[in-house]
């Protein structure tokens, strides 16, 4: 048997490698997706005051620290048993939308556009954001501009772009200034133009990727995402909805009941645990989270332009598009939603109110906070003693939920595209591109420790390494 190793997988957040075993005849026997980083946060927060948790857990990630800040602050709200002022909730959602814009822009333009615009088989040395800037300068500039827009909102609200301390237990540290509101409103139309033309471009080239759409992780899985009371798209708050492969409702769980719905399996060859829907077990309870899951679970987005795009998406690929290739499409629709939502929030009376923080001591021994991070459902769960010292923490991160689905997707892509007798780099790049479609953040998602610059290994039937691809 032959073995291929892709190590590390490039243009993803964190580090991973993929092993592909081949039979004597060159066909793919099996694949494994390994995450090789250790996180360790649950252990070393023991004994710390609970209100330090947003600041500490934000350090898990430099790409979307806002996600951890929000999930952690919501968990702290639960420990304090407070209902935060309505303006604070709106401001938190506002900064969250800004983060979704910047994170999705990063994933689409910087990480995946080289595959999409330059092509899966393009020269790997130039298949990156610089190569993109050379051949598609306008699109590369759009990506940078859109990401900047999101980051500038974060900076305007929270004082800094990476790891701000503005999101605090009980609300936010300071109200929105009216000049900041004006500034964001002024920049908003430009961002919306960018996403409109990007969506048009993306739709126009979808035909070129028919084979990828067909074979990129299409195996049947459940879907999970937060929804609002009406069952529509929600990024900041709501109930966790589990839907079947065709979108049928399987069950809803309130955030604090996540433990009844989600169980975690440990895998022998990865530091990343593998959550699944507890009532159905593995493999039937394997589910996907993230942009595509959110759109598949939700009735609609709730904003006009995003809903028009969602309708077109469903018209093209059905009510519940199954291919993980469509994460890209879903990401662009979600950027549209986030930009519309930013406008709605800024136009809501009371957004400039000065009462933005509730103060309290510890009033509950246990708390759960859930948000939809750009990559999917993010769960923080803490237990504290009577003085507020952390006794226990559990973090289930978006990429973790997708672990088993990514593993399945890798296998499907490898089986379809890899021919062990005539191995080409472009075949292996498709395996990496599948992983990229999920936009995984592996450093975030390991419980013990965490790596996704990806490595792919090709091994012979006797186990000898025939080929290795490092990013």
């Amino acid at each position: 048997m032959k073995k291929i190793t892709i190590a590390p997988v490039s243009r993803i957040e964190g580090h991973a490698h993929i092993t592909i075993h081949l039979r004597e005849d060159g066909e793919v026997e099996s694949t494994q997706f390994h995450v090789t980083q250790v996180r360790g946060f649950e252990k070393f927060v023991e004994g710390r005051p609970y209100y330090e948790m947003p600041g500490i857990t934000a350090r898990i990630c430099g790409i979307c620290p806002i996600s951890h800040l929000l999930a952690s602050a919501k968990t702290c709200d639960a420990l304090m048993a407070v209902r935060i002022p309505p303006t604070a909730a709106m401001l938190r959602e506002l900064i969250h939308c800004a983060q979704v814009v910047q994170s999705h822009a990063l994933s689409f333009f910087h990480l995946s556009a080289p595959d999409l615009l330059l092509g899966m088989d393009f020269d790997p040395a130039r298949r990156n954001v610089l190569g993109l800037a050379a051949k598609w300068p306008e699109q590369a500039r759009d990506g940078i501009e859109l990401r900047k827009f999101g980051q500038q909102i974060i900076e305007r609200l929270a004082g800094e772009r990476v790891h701000p301390s503005w999101i605090v237990p009980g609300g936010v540290a300071s109200p929105l200034e009216s000049e900041a509101r004006e500034e964001i409103l002024q920049r908003l139309p430009h961002a919306r133009e960018i996403i409109r033309r990007t969506l048009e471009l993306y739709k126009s080239m979808l035909d070129r990727f028919a084979e990828e759409v067909e074979n990129f992780g299409t195996s049947a899985t459940m879907w999970a995402a937060l929804v609002d009371p009406a069952g529509n798209l929600q990024l900041y708050d709501g109930r966790i909805r589990f839907a079947g492969m065709n979108g049928e409702l399987i069950g809803d769980a309130a955030p604090e009941q996540y433990g009844g719905a989600i169980a975690e399996a440990s895998l022998a060859d990865s530091y990343m645990k593998a959550p699944y829907y507890r009532p159905l077990g593995i493999p039937n309870g394997i589910y996907r989270v993230g942009p595509l899951a959110r759109l598949n679970v939700a009735g609609c987005c709730g904003t006009p332009e995003a809903d028009r795009e969602l309708a077109e998406f469903r018209q093209r690929f059905g009510r519940v598009p199954a291919s993980s290739f469509h994460y890209h499409y879903a990401r662009l629709i979600e950027i549209t939603y986030a930009l519309e939502r930013i406008k709605q929030l800024l136009d809501t009376p009371g957004i400039l109110d000065s009462q933005v923080r509730a103060r309290a001591e510890v009033n509950a021994a246990e708390g759960v906070g859930v948000i939809e991070a750009p990559r999917g459902t993010l769960i923080h769960h803490y237990k504290v003693d009577a003085n507020g010292a952390m006794k226990w923490a559990n973090l289930i991160v978006a990429t973790g939920h997708n672990n088993l689905a990514i593993g399945r997707g890798v296998e499907q892509v490898a089986r379809h595209f890899i021919d062990g007798n005539r191995l080409r780099e472009g075949m292996l790049n498709r395996v990496s591109a599948l992983v990229r479609a999920f936009d995984p953040c592996l450093s975030c998602s390991t419980h013990a420790s965490g790596v996704l610059p990806l490595r792919i290994e090709l091994r012979s039937a006797s186990g000898a390494v025939l080929d290795e691809l490092r990013s």
Binding site: P49, Y51, E52, G55, I56, S165
Partner: protein
């Protein structure tokens, strides 16, 4: 200011002639001459302890370095407050302080408002050359309003002195010796159980780092009201 009737001495601070009462310290003389000497354990209005050694200076005719905060001026003394040698020692002291316990600035409640952090930046401590000790130290959250985080403590003893001499409660003391030294409340009780504590919060405002803080202040939020405490301590010192 030199008080009337006291015997005055003349000394040189970095070559500049300064006249001041004999009861003053080199640190006070340097302040009169407008010279900056870094300190952490010194607090205006409190008796000096010479704990941090950051204020070491060179004195002509003395082979070793002397702490400016506890060395009285003497007639004819010539003091150097800044030199490459002093700068190297001061940086080393700060690095040792940072390596000794867990000063994780990024997630500290005092980040951005910390005397240790500010001095490290000011004196050019860009990295720590010594291996970090990473000791496992407790956080005392038992007090209803305040928190003692041993991970951030530099043993300057400002809390011990302000509580004893200004508030008069003497809740705090330093237990054990050397590397095992630890600030403790009463007879090594949880702070919340320390019956002598009046809950005045002077120790929190005297603390130069995030070791003592108000409960519920999130990362970067803990700002100490040092100026007010200095005023109170100075008034008390004048009356004493």
């Amino acid at each position: 200011m030199p008080e009337a009737g006291q015997k005055k001495v003349s000394i040189r601070i970095d070559g500049e002639l300064v006249q001041l009462p004999a009861s003053h310290t080199i640190l006070q003389a340097a302040a009169m001459a407008g010279r900056f000497i870094p300190t952490l354990c010194h607090f205006d209005g409190l008796a000096d302890a010479g704990a941090c050694r950051l204020c070491v200076v060179e004195v002509s005719g003395v082979a070793r370095l002397l702490p400016a905060c506890t060395t009285p001026v003497q007639e004819g003394m010539s003091v150097v407050t800044d030199s490459p040698k002093l700068a190297a020692y001061r940086r080393m002291i700060l690095e040792l302080l940072l390596a000794e316990r867990n000063h994780v600035c990024a997630v500290c409640v005092s980040n951005g408002h910390c005397e240790l952090q500010n001095l490290a930046a000011q004196l050019g401590v860009a990295s720590v050359r010594y291996p970090y000790r990473y000791p496992k130290l407790p956080v005392d959250l038992s007090h209803p309003r305040f928190v003692l985080d041993q991970n951030r403590c530099i043993l300057c003893s400002r809390c011990v002195r302000v509580c004893a001499s200004v508030e008069g409660a003497h809740v705090w003391n330093v237990m054990s010796r050397g590397i095992h030294s630890m600030v403790v409340a009463d007879l090594n009780d949880p702070w919340g159980d320390a019956s002598s504590c009046t809950g005045c919060g002077k120790c929190v405002n005297a603390c130069p780092t995030g070791a003592l803080s108000e409960k519920g202040q999130a990362v970067e939020e803990m700002m100490k009201n040092t100026a007010q405490l200095v005023t109170i301590a100075m008034r008390k010192a004048v009356r004493a």
